[in-house]
């Protein structure tokens, strides 16, 4: 397991995704991707985007929605936007 997978931020993201997708925390692995579980479909994806905005205070726009399709991608986006912010 990489350092990133152990990071507190990854754990936070897992927690947010579990809530957004109504999954148990165990069902959300650190490398989970869009489509890996039936709940992370088109509607689920938009729930995830809204929860990420609320929980991490980041802005997600139409250009970004299609790129945030895995927990690692979400992690990198949050890091980058927190730094830029």
């Amino acid at each position: 397991m990489s350092t990133q997978e152990n990071s507190p931020l990854i754990e936070q993201i897992q927690h947010v995704l579990a809530a957004a997708l109504r999954l148990s925390e165990d069902a959300v692995s650190p490398a989970l991707e869009f489509g890996d579980v039936p709940q992370w479909d088109s509607l689920g994806h938009m729930e995830v985007m809204m929860e990420l905005e609320q929980n991490f205070g980041i802005e997600i726009n139409a250009d970004t929605i299609a790129t945030l399709i895995s927990i690692p991608a979400i992690h990198d986006y949050i890091i980058m936007n927190k730094q830029n912010g």
């Binding site: 489509g35 479909d41 509607l43 994806h45 938009m46 809204m50 726009n61 139409a62 970004t64 929605i65």
Partner: protein, 400 residues
């Protein structure tokens, strides 16, 4: 009439400003807010909503109506993502000879005859145009060696439920039923059934069987349902079909622009992601040449489906972000507007997952389709080129 009756038209101030990119979408949904509404317009300020009603209403009814209007606006606007608009082809500036409203001439020539809102009988000119455009779309299908299919007009409710259609598009559903298999019921109906002054069938609701089928809203769904719970042995398919589609649009039903019952020709791709996306793009490029030959003024741009209020914000944002839908929007010069005459669609693995259609490696199939509305195509052509065949593009000379 009491003093508390609301005179019309009247205006409502929206609690939130409706952004420009959502004005048409929100306005179209007002058709389903209340049966009192005869017309609803959002003014360019994005805050003022003008309502015309079928009859006067009292204060309580007005409050109910206003509450529902505000609910629609909030649901569609609050937290909405600004769509990513991508234009793939732009020939909207092409000069075309006709600038008048084709409806006037179509009615004068008895080329269209309305049976009920959104349902028209078409005369020889419109029919010939549709048949011509059909040959061009079939040529596209042939260029892919697409296998021909024929699909029914009815579609089982249980099929649509399986792909969440009721949640996404409840407002546009059209239902089919029949009399219960009961001699007394059938006898009673045959003796007493009729239509009232509004055209409503006067028969006891319990004369009818529970609804198990609907009028089909799309062509390609039938193929996906036929392939449900199966593996595609060759891992890919290209199919074509033409069919009747039914989408109820209430007061938005307008001439041939927006029909309740219309015809679509589709070319459908099933396979892995690359196969579907590559073929969707090839279809677009081939059609670009056809539209050039037809000298059509049009644009191809990203779009979203008309999801109902509760689903709209999320589904539309998702479609836009992943560029799942591009519409062919033909110019309507007489109203300085455009009309979608076709679309290039990619559904990702939505149908593959929901209907358990798998590829040889066990993964869910991806699907996509290109679809052309035949009546709209004829209508847009007449709106741009009019009724004098001498003014028509070279490839269409001699058609009439």
């Amino acid at each position: 009439m009491g003093n508390d009756m609301i005179k019309q038209p009247f205006t409502i101030k929206s609690q939130v400003t409706i952004p420009d990119h959502l004005i048409k979408e929100v306005q179209s949904k007002f058709a389903y807010v209340d049966e009192y509404i005869a017309n609803a317009t959002i003014l360019p300020d994005g805050n003022t909503i003008e309502l015309e009603l079928r009859s006067e209403i009292n204060k309580q009814e007005k409050n109910n109506l206003e509450e529902k209007i505000q609910r629609v606006v909030l649901s569609m606007v609050k937290g909405a993502y600004q769509p990513k608009v991508e234009i793939l082809e732009d020939y909207l500036d092409k000069q075309v000879p006709y600038q008048s409203d084709p409806n006037i001439e179509l009615l004068k020539r008895q080329e269209i005859s309305q049976e009920t809102p959104g349902v028209f009988t078409l005369g020889p000119l419109v029919t010939r145009l549709i048949e011509y455009f059909e040959t061009r779309f079939v040529e596209l299908a042939d260029s892919f060696a697409a296998q021909p299919y024929r699909f029914p007009i009815l579609i089982p409710a249980r099929y649509l439920q399986r792909v969440n259609y009721f949640r996404a598009f409840p407002h546009s559903l059209s239902f089919a039923t029949h009399l219960r298999e009961d001699l007394d019921t059938i006898d009673h109906f045959s003796q007493h059934a009729g239509c009232d002054a509004h055209g409503n069938l006067t028969a006891a609701p319990d004369s009818f069987s529970p609804i198990q089928n609907l009028l089909s809203p799309a062509v390609c769904y039938h193929l996906y349902f036929a392939l449900a719970d199966q593996s595609l042995p060759e891992g890919k398919m290209i199919v074509t079909a033409v069919g009747n589609c039914f989408r109820y649009e209430a007061i938005n039903l307008t001439s041939l622009e927006r029909l309740w019952n219309f015809t679509m020709r589709e070319v459908i791709f099933i396979g892995n992601k690359d196969f579907v996306l590559e073929n969707r793009e090839i279809a677009r490029q081939r059609m670009q040449k056809v539209f050039q030959e037809l000298e059509l003024a049009y644009r191809v741009e990203s779009a979203n489906d008309p999801f109902f209020i509760g689903e709209f914000r999320k589904q539309a944002a998702f479609q836009s972000a992943f560029q799942l839908k591009f519409e062919i929007r033909a110019s309507l010069p007489f109203k300085n507007s455009t009309l979608a005459v076709g679309s290039y669609n990619y559904h990702q693995d939505f149908f593959g997952r929901h209907l358990n259609i798998s590829l040889p490696d066990g993964s869910p199939a991806h699907t996509g389709c290109v679809a052309f509305g035949l009546e709209r195509m004829a209508y847009a052509f007449l709106a741009q080129y009019g009724f004098d065949p001498n003014q028509w593009p070279l490839c269409m000379k001699g058609l009439i």
